[in-house]
Amino acid sequence: MGPTAAGALFALSLLVAVALVHRPLGDYMARVFTSRHHVRAEWWMYRLIGVDPDGEQTWAVYARSVLAFSAVSVLFLYGFQRLQSHLFLNLGLPAVKSDLAWNTAVSFVTNTNWQAYAGESTMGHLVQVAGLAVQNFVSAAVGIAVAIALVRGFARSRTDKLGNFWVDLVRGCLRILLPVCVVAAVVLVAGGAVQSFVEPQTVQTLSGAQQAVTGGPVASQEAIKNFGTNGGGFYNANSAHPFENPTVWTNWVEIFLLLAIGFSLPRTFGRMVGDLRQGYAIVAVMAVLAIGSQLAVHGFQLAHQGTVPTAVGAATEGIETRFGVANSAAFASATTLTSTGSVNSFHDSYTSLGGAVLLANMMLGEVAPGGVGSGLYGILILAVVTVFVAGLMVGRTPEFLGKKIRAREIKLASLYFLTTPALVLLGTAVAMALPEGREGMLNRGPHGLSEVLYAFTSAGNNNGSAFAGLAADTTFYNTALGLAMLAGRFVPVVLVLALAGSLAAQRSTPVTAGTLPTHRPQFVGMVAGVTVILVALTFFPALALGPLAEGLR
């Protein structure tokens, strides 16, 4: 079997596995978020937190809870890093400097996991497990909670209640993320991922040199890093590092983990709105976009156009031998389609057009399937925009799932859609205008612009992967990208919750012969089309100056 055929089988096997798991996992998540029963451990936690688990919240209170939790998380994580040198298990590393600590705190709380630091030389074991990895769990649970609140907005009528954030947060962590991660972490160790609390162990290599072999609680972090679509690697090399991703089959497991929740949530959505077909339509949009992207990245990487890839004879720079070009392309496409941002190969060295597709994946707004929770609410917003566009064409009040899309709803949806492009394009423009921004570029010419554009696209969309040649650990980039991540996460979250509140307050409109059906292939095609066209209109000029200028000469 040739590399192309083997690569196609690899991607296909992932598709089949995700298709098989999305029903049980989606149904399970629907049960988790609709059950009235609190298990004893949870009940104790609500007592300790000091909240009434059966008291539901309005959208504004829900949003305030999300923001309060995230604000406290940023402060806590910032303080944790600043105090690292005074704590134990710090491997003798000094306190993280202030701008980097701010950037990293925001990065992990927003589920971005952009890393301006190198894990092995910056963060001790304690900060990694009790600071960063905790945010891997809770930021993922926050994303799921917000998505579930929006689904409740569609499912409920004539109420101002969207559920209880604290219950959704705790259940997301305890009932969904933790159980899977326990299994996944042990599986990763079976493949060779390390799990220890030791300091680097210096050995004398075969040739007589010294080599410090690092340890650390890697497997436990690796599992949630991918399952929670976080992406922050224990080590600088992320999932390319043999201790994070030791074998070709752990590579498969990691890609599967990072796709699992994103592709299952549409099923949860279908379940909760009482019409599974709606969930199938949404997952079909995600699948169409994801398969298209996978084909494109595989195609460009295996064709290896460009001067250096042609000189080499393959696009192997930044690629591990065991994974090869195809399985690296599968990972790269999956990690940018979700908001994960973990990498098993280095995107900066991808072919120009392969790298362009990775950028475009994030520019889609990460909806195919997107980050845990954020992907579902992102694509539901796009569905709202689509019914609005369709309503304009036929001159009817647009409706989605029995809810009228009126001026207020479409304003919220439009603001949601405008937030990220504004952050990405303005951020890139400011960086290119300032000497501090231009100094960070490693590569010259169009590729340098691609590095900066990639950084702001990754931060604004809360992805976290990088064209890592950019020297991002500077005061300018730490501050600017931190702001982009913060606004890119919480402005949309507030807009989504406001939309959920206004949908829940509406009564349900009965379906008539004139209602646009939102479960047919026609609607799937329209949502996919609207997504691609909106992205193309917004970002084409920027892409043309960066990767397209480089790749199409």
Partner: protein
């Protein structure tokens, strides 16, 4: 106690964060660390360390690549060699990572000749990815006794890149150059091309900016599929890649057999034993673990080093 309303959700948030820190940040990793103490997992959780056959001392991890170079940085000929590495000075687990150089990184920043005379490196100088690939290919070709030429490389082992300076036509190309410079070949080197479009090709001088010209890589007539495999001339993502391709291993086998004074057949047999195919027939690419192969070589065929 009276508390302002805005502070209450923040106190709940702090308590929730601390509780979840205990559950997800303390209990969870400890439970995993506990589970992996099982005999079947313990060695892997500890880093898959391996010992030398001779004296039983730890020589590294099965999963972490090593550089097989001697004190002076020259490759040890009795061993199979790993891929180029961008981790620190090579295979440094405390500085993992990739080169991050792009597919069109084809122009070197030449070193200042002045500090070089005193034995210092110019920190501003940087080899382009293309030149790194060309130089590695030439070196490996010379070491293994095969043709190290590649497309877009000069015979001297740098990127064959011209800056074609002159008026641009409507599409941005320079058809009637006034001046042509081979930007990666430092004077007084003789450029790889004598003339380009009738204009004499110059060598490049330190400190000159040739970026006004059209930057043009020249394909040359090297074969499409070079003798030196792709993984031998490119750095991995982690900088710790423990593996090489079977093709690169086979290229090195005759040299290893010659230096160790053993039949090529036995080296190739050993190579076959250490070649891992695709898992389940379709996952990943075939690869050879270099450290394990070298250890096995030392065990079976001790060489007078």
């Amino acid at each position: 106690m009276y508390l302002p309303t805005w502070i209450r959700p923040h106190l709940a948030a702090l308590r929730a964060l601390l509780l979840l820190t205990v559950v997800c940040g303390v209990l969870y990793p400890l439970v995993i660390t506990g589970i992996v103490q099982l005999p079947a997992l313990r060695e892997k959780a500890g880093g898959s360390m391996i010992e030398a056959a001779a004296d039983g001392r730890l020589v590294g991890s099965r999963l972490i690549g090593q550089a097989f170079t001697g004190k002076a940085g020259s490759a040890l000929p009795q061993y199979f060699h790993s891929r180029p590495s961008a981790a620190g000075n090579g295979y440094d687990p405390l500085a993992t990572g990739a080169s991050n150089l792009g597919p069109e990184d084809i122009v070197d920043v030449l070193p200042d000749p002045a500090p070089q005379k005193t034995g210092h490196q110019d920190p501003e100088a940087r080899q382009s990815l293309l030149t790194q690939v060309c130089a590695r290919s030439r070196a490996v070709g010379a070491q293994e006794g095969v043709d190290g030429s590649r497309p877009f490389c000069t015979a001297g082992g740098v990127g064959a890149t011209l800056s074609v300076i002159g008026p641009r036509d409507a599409t941005g190309h320079v058809n009637r150059p006034r001046r042509v410079v081979s930007v990666n070949e430092r004077c007084p080197d003789k450029p790889f091309l004598a003339t380009y479009r009738g204009v004499r090709v110059e060598c490049a001088r330190y400190g000159q900016d040739y970026s006004t010209g059209e930057i043009l890589p020249i394909r040359g007539n090297a074969p499409k599929t070079p003798k030196v495999p792709a993984d031998a001339v490119t750095a991995s993502g982690s900088g710790l890649d423990p593996d090489i391709s079977p093709a690169y291993a086979r290229l090195q086998a005759p040299r290893v057999a010659r230096v160790r004074k053993i039949p090529l057949r036995s080296v190739l047999d050993l190579l076959d034993q250490h070649t891992t195919g695709r898992t389940l027939g379709f996952m990943g690419e075939p690869h050879v673990n270099v450290l394990q192969l070298n250890l096995d070589l030392d065990r079976r065929h001790p060489s007078g080093t």
